[in-house]
């Protein structure tokens, strides 16, 4: 048996993980944490001045409205099982999202996603 296997069997790591994965309290806390992340991301973005924000129609016919980016930041959940914990993913779906995050000719690099990750202490994930 490997050292990792020995440690896992001694401390019943698998059983503890399965218990946590099935726990409604853990799932509830994950939902709360994901909502906090979403709220921070939206608040961070809304705190900037948006002098050019207006209703306008793109050549494609798509009508852009103030608040589209904030409204596009949504939480999705990935179902877990006995061996895989439930996960939450927060993403911005607006077509401007990558320009807002990384900047463009017409836009500074606001990086609200990076700031959110920084606040919650993660590189690409929040724990």
């Amino acid at each position: 048996m490997s050292l990792q296997g020995l440690v896992q069997s001694c401390f019943a790591v698998g059983a503890i993980e399965a218990e946590m994965n099935a726990s409604p309290q853990v799932a509830l806390e994950l939902m709360h944490k994901a909502e906090k992340v979403r709220e921070f991301w939206v608040d961070y973005w809304e705190a900037f001045d948006h002098p050019h924000s207006r209703v306008h129609t793109l050549r494609s016919g798509y009508v852009e409205r103030p608040g589209d980016y904030s409204a596009s930041i949504k939480v999705k959940f990935i179902e877990g099982n006995a061996v895989r914990p439930m996960k939450a993913r927060v993403t911005a779906h607006d077509y401007k999202a990558h320009w807002i995050e990384y900047g463009s000719v017409h836009m500074p690099e606001f990086a609200p996603r990076a700031a959110t990750l920084e606040y919650f202490g993660g590189g690409t994930t929040v724990s």
Partner: protein, 136 residues
Amino acid sequence: MGLLSVDGVAVQAEEFLVAYLSPTLVNVATEMEASPPLPFFLVKRITGGEDMVSDYAVVSIHCFATSRTAASDAATSMHAKMKALNAKTSVTVGGKAYGVDFRYVEEVPFYVDYEDKTLRRFVGRYRLGLRLLKVL
């Protein structure tokens, strides 16, 4: 590299990276004019906090070129140089030697549209641990 100090200041992350990358890469700067010389490397701090020991800067490095292939090549060179940055590296900024405690790759360079048909861009993001040093 100076004395650690809780009331000290860290070297500016952007200046540090411009000084570090410039000997190897051409056109490294913290601001970019219209129609820049290419390839062009734009260094920008985007976020990062500080505690009593270090400044933890998160920095974007944008690699611009005329084609996607050229931008990818520029990004590859930049990324190799960034991965070579470690705690033993000494960089001279304003006549003083500075270094990093650590360098993490937050995002490996990848293609991001720039809304300009004449420029192609790859962006990488890195986190640096820059020690607060006593101002002498």
